[in-house]
């Protein structure tokens, strides 16, 4: 049990600490920028100005430009023409280091290279702004700015369609490189730097993005938060239960050794040596279990998660990392067992040997309230026996209930996660979005081109923008969805009922409203990322969306607010295969659900692991306690058997108690599981909004699993009952 507890704790902990340490190392090794300043034209003058700011420690320009790779599926490749590459360095895996004087080489993304089967030495060409460049691949690797990299069309990356490439500024086909991003490193916090910039350099640049807001960094840190949360809840539940079980086991093992202790004492052993003997006995067991857990946990469990995570995130190293916390927990476990065994032995060894040498006299049962009411008379022997047995062994009863409670809570949680993920998919991709294809409009496309495409595919134009919303002192980034009358995207409330947002209304998503602590009638301000024009809006409605948090409004309303309507996508019922020059990329509903499924793969795994461990937990708890109680009542069982009770009747006797406790534990476990699930969903990141719920089927499944385990454990005992030696059990002293 000590092993299992420490195993899960250290395993899941190692996974999440591993993520953090690996990503931090990666960020540090590659000198990830602290912030990015975006501007149409970053001349030397501006660079000087930034360098002159007191807190700037380092800065470096690059041109970041979207291009299309010359492959049959027109993948989006983001090109970086770098001036120096000392900040946010390219992390090389194969080939040679990025060479700033090399005008012919390109350093590309490992995931993209793998997807396209590209190797060092191959040639690759890109087209941007009508210019096509062809370069030789000199190196393949990762970039700290692209741990998470997905297109605007879907949150889930498809490395066949998206990639990035680094080149020297010398590789740019023109002499004057129109740098548009300034990577900066600075001292102090980002907020201060932001204000410093807007103070000193207002007007000279478009926007500033700090590290925490960078899409790759923030996505990955959200993912880490999720894992941290999970490693926070589940292992702790396990550790607690493991400790409880350890407690009961140690106490009982020692009380079973009672007569032995008596004999030792009678033979003249000192209390100290007896205590030492029994305490060290438990100590070694727990110590070995804990150490094994410490070693095996981090080695095995993370390996279950990392493969599916590495499908989404690009990190050079996926190593579980060991943290001192695990050792503390293990040490705590060992100390607990020491204390418990010490207390248990002491209570026995303090008695005088004459008493100790005999078994402890049974606890006296007493009649209570229940016996006085009329029903008692009508209860069967089975019910009476079990009631009194439970009453006499309150501690054991409590432990069993807690064990089952833990099991059913974990099961509810696991199935709740399963349902939540499925609900989310159904909600987002069937209830809200009904289109078949989404065509992402090229930023350079002109209105008439866009309208032509829209007409051609019989689609509706929409605008999706990243925005920043501020209410009171809270600032959150979110998204803005601008819709004209369309049946293809229908916002809903949290019950999946479609809601109508009128032309002059603004609706905020439930999660965003919760995050900002605002409601209908409140006024908040926001700006579109990339522009510093803040506008005030009053909230008219609240809608709910599982994966996108922010505002929904009409084009009219956007106009009213004085913002430009620039459609970013066209959605259509038709399945679109053809290419349009105004369209950057097309993704079908099928692609999106498929990539969603891929993203949730690691989730499924977690769910299976949860179910497995929850079941294991229930079995261990029930068997352990069952075994201990069985040895205690062996004599009674033997008597009943001698008297003529059939094995089946005796099994039912034990089963009844198990089932009662299971039922109580199950009922208590439901709210606990629900609560854990709620915490989990709430902590799943700012952009997710999932309501904790569990479907009837899975609820029934939870019940079935819990009770099946209880019955299964009981079956293990029926063999014991059958083999019970009646004659032996009846001998001995009373």
């Amino acid at each position: 049990m000590a092993f299992l507890g420490v195993f899960v704790f250290a395993g899941v902990g190692g996974e999440s600490v591993g993520l953090e340490v690996n990503s931090n190392n990666f960020y540090q090794d590659t000198n990830l920028a602290d912030g990015w300043i975006y501007s149409a034209n970053l001349d030397n003058d501006f660079v000087d100005k930034v360098n002159n700011l007191s807190s700037t420690t380092q800065c470096e320009r690059q041109l970041v430009i979207d291009s299309v790779g010359n492959f049959s599926n027109d993948p989006d490749i983001t090109l970086h023409f770098v001036e120096n590459n000392t900040i946010s360095k390219f992390y090389l895996l194969e080939g040679e280091e990025l060479n700033i004087s090399d005008a012919d080489g390109v350093w590309i993304d490992k995931s993209f290279a793998d997807a396209k089967d590209l190797n060092v030495g191959d040639n690759i060409s890109f087209t941007f702004n009508g210019i096509t460049v062809e370069k030789e691949i000199k190196g393949i690797g990762y970039s700290p700015e692209y741990v998470y990299h997905a297109s605007t069309a879907s949150v889930i990356p498809d490395f066949n369609k998206i990639g990035f490439a680094y080149m020297s500024y010398k590789a740019f086909p023109m002499d004057n490189v129109p740098y548009n991003v300034l990577n900066v490193k600075f001292d102090g916090n980002a907020g201060d730097y932001d204000s410093l910039l807007s103070d000193k350099l207002a007007g000279d640049y478009n926007s500033f993005v700090e590290k925490a807001e960078h899409s790759s960094v923030s996505q990955f840190s959200e993912e880490m938060d999720q894992h941290k949360m999970m490693s926070g809840i589940f292992p702790v539940v396990f550790i607690l239960i493991a400790m409880l079980i350890l407690l009961t086991t140690m106490t009982r093992i020692i009380s079973h050794q009672r007569t032995q202790i008596g004999i030792l004492k009678a033979n003249g052993f000192t209390n100290t040596s007896i205590i030492f003997h029994y305490v060290s006995y438990g100590f070694w067991l727990v110590l070995i279990g804990s150490i094994l857990g410490l070693i095996i946990g981090p080695l095995t469990l993370p390996q279950l998660f990392y493969p599916s995570m590495s499908a989404t995130y690009k990190l050079p190293s996926w190593q579980p990392v060991w943290s001192m916390d695990f050792v503390y927990v293990a040490v705590l476990m060992v100390i607990m067992s020491l204390i418990v065994s010490y207390l248990a032995v002491r209570s026995i060894s303090n008695e005088n040997p004459a008493d100790t040498i005999r078994p402890k006299s049974p606890k006296v049962s007493s009649s209570g309230f229940v016996e006085k009411i009329g029903v008692w008379k009508r209860l069967s022997f089975n019910a009476r026996w079990n009631y009194r047995d439970a009453k006499r062994n309150k501690f054991r009863a409590l432990m069993t209930v807690i064990g089952v409670m833990g099991c059913s809570a974990l099961l509810v949680c696991a199935f709740g996660m399963y349902d939540g993920m499925n609900d989310l998919k159904e909600w987002e991709y069937s209830q809200i979005n009904h289109y078949d294809s989404k065509l992402v409009i090229d930023e350079d496309a002109i209105t008439s081109e866009i309208n032509d495409v829209a007409e051609d595919v019989n689609g509706d134009k929409i605008m999706e923008s990243a925005i920043e919303i501020e209410a009171g002192n809270i600032k959150k980034s979110g998204s803005l969805l601008v819709l004209n009358d369309t049946d293809l995207i229908t916002p809903t409330d949290y019950d999946w009922n479609k809601i109508k947002i009128a032309n002059d209304e603004v609706s905020i998503s439930q999660k965003m409203a919760d995050l900002l602590d605002v409601g209908v009638g409140d006024t908040v301000k926001f700006h579109i990322m990339g522009s510093d024009k803040w506008v005030n809006v009053t909230i008219n409605k609240i809608h709910a969306d599982p994966i996108s948090q922010g505002f929904v409004m009409s084009t009219d309303k956007l106009d009213d607010l004085g913002l430009n309507y620039t459609p970013t996508s066209i959605v259509t019922e038709k399945h679109v295969d053809s290419n349009y020059s105004a369209i950057k990329s097309t993704s079908s509903m099928k692609d999106m659900t498929a990539s969603w499924d891929e993203l949730t793969e690691s989730m499924w795994l977690l769910i299976y692991i949860l179910i497995f461990f929850a079941s294991l937990l229930a079995i261990v708890v029930l068997y352990n306690l069952g075994l201990l109680s069985f040895t205690e009542i062996e004599r009674e069982i033997a008597t009943l058997k001698v008297l003529g009770f059939k094995t089946g009747a005796l099994r039912r006797l034990l089963l009844t108690q198990n089932l009662w406790f299971t039922a109580i534990g199950f009922v208590l476990g439901l709210p606990v599981g629900y609560y854990i699930l709620k915490i989990m969903w709430e902590s799943s990141g700012d952009s997710f909004y999932i309501l904790p719920s569990i479907s009837i089927t899975n609820f029934i499944l939870t019940a079935i699993i819990t009770f099946a385990l209880s019955i299964f454990v009981n079956l293990l005992f029926s063999r014991k009952i059958k083999k019970l030696d009646m004659v032996e059990s009846l001998k001995g002293v009373e």
């Binding site: 007493s366 004599r635 008597t639 058997k641 008297l643 003529g644 009747a649 001995g732």
Partner: protein, 234 residues
């Protein structure tokens, strides 16, 4: 009186590894209905083995055990359980009451295994414990506990009462009371009572005495005029 129990050349062997221990060697005897039988023997003579075979706790290696016309030696586990439930009322040296149940509940427990309606209070009254019906075993003295155990055994109206050193854990005064009770059961209610003991004094009170030694019958004697237990010279 008709024959209730018949042992015919019963052999019981225990195997442990290569060693075969013959605990019961060609034992034959009969017990009649309503008899008060004492089985005597020093420890290790095979008393317990005999009791186990008679009580259906163990199966014989060879020979026949016929109880009430049925061949017990052919019974499987389930039939043995059934046999114990219906035919044998056990009284143990250490009472073996169920600590979780009150005296009356311990008696009425039998309702679960036999098809007899039992009035626990009435049965307890017959052993003189009507005032302790709602007490738990731990609250009763040894003699009282043994009386509950007798009540439990007779409540189901078994073919025989099988008593394993019933006074072994009691002081002599209480022991006499218990044995007296058992003798009365036999005399007044025509219950077959079989007592296994090493206490030779009891022999004088028995209708039939079966002495065993080294797994064999040493002697079977019949007292034409058995003494009353209370008249024995303790």
């Amino acid at each position: 009186m008709s024959t209730l129990i018949e042992f015919k050349d019963v052999v019981k062997e225990y195997k442990s590894g290569d060693n075969v221990l013959r605990a019961m060697d060609n034992v034959s005897f009969t017990i009649d209905e309503g008899e008060f039988v004492v089985i005597l023997g020093p420890s290790g003579a095979g008393k317990s083995t005999l009791l186990n075979l008679l009580g259906g706790l163990d199966s014989a290696t060879n020979g026949q055990i016929i109880v009430d016309g049925e061949h017990v030696e052919n019974f499987d586990d389930n039939e043995l359980t059934e046999y114990r439930a219906n035919n044998v009322g056990f009284i143990f040296q250490f009472y073996n009451l169920i600590p979780n149940l009150t005296a009356v509940e311990n008696v009425e427990l039998m309702k679960d295994i036999v098809d007899v309606d039992i009035d626990g209070c009435a049965v307890l009254k017959s052993v003189g414990l009507e005032n302790h019906a709602n007490q738990f075993p731990a609250q009763l003295s040894g003699g009282e506990q043994q009386r509950v155990s007798i009540a439990r055994a007779v409540a189901k109206q078994p073919t025989m009462l099988l008593c394993d050193e019933p006074t072994g854990a009691l002081d002599s005064k209480t022991g006499v009371l218990i044995l007296n009770l058992l003798q009365e059961m036999s005399n007044d209610k025509n219950t077959t009572v079989i007592i296994v003991t090493h206490n030779a004094i009891l022999a004088e009170a028995a209708d039939k005495v079966i002495r065993i030694k080294n797994g064999q019958i040493e002697d079977i004697s019949i007292n034409v005029n058995p003494k009353k237990v209370e008249d024995l010279d303790w």
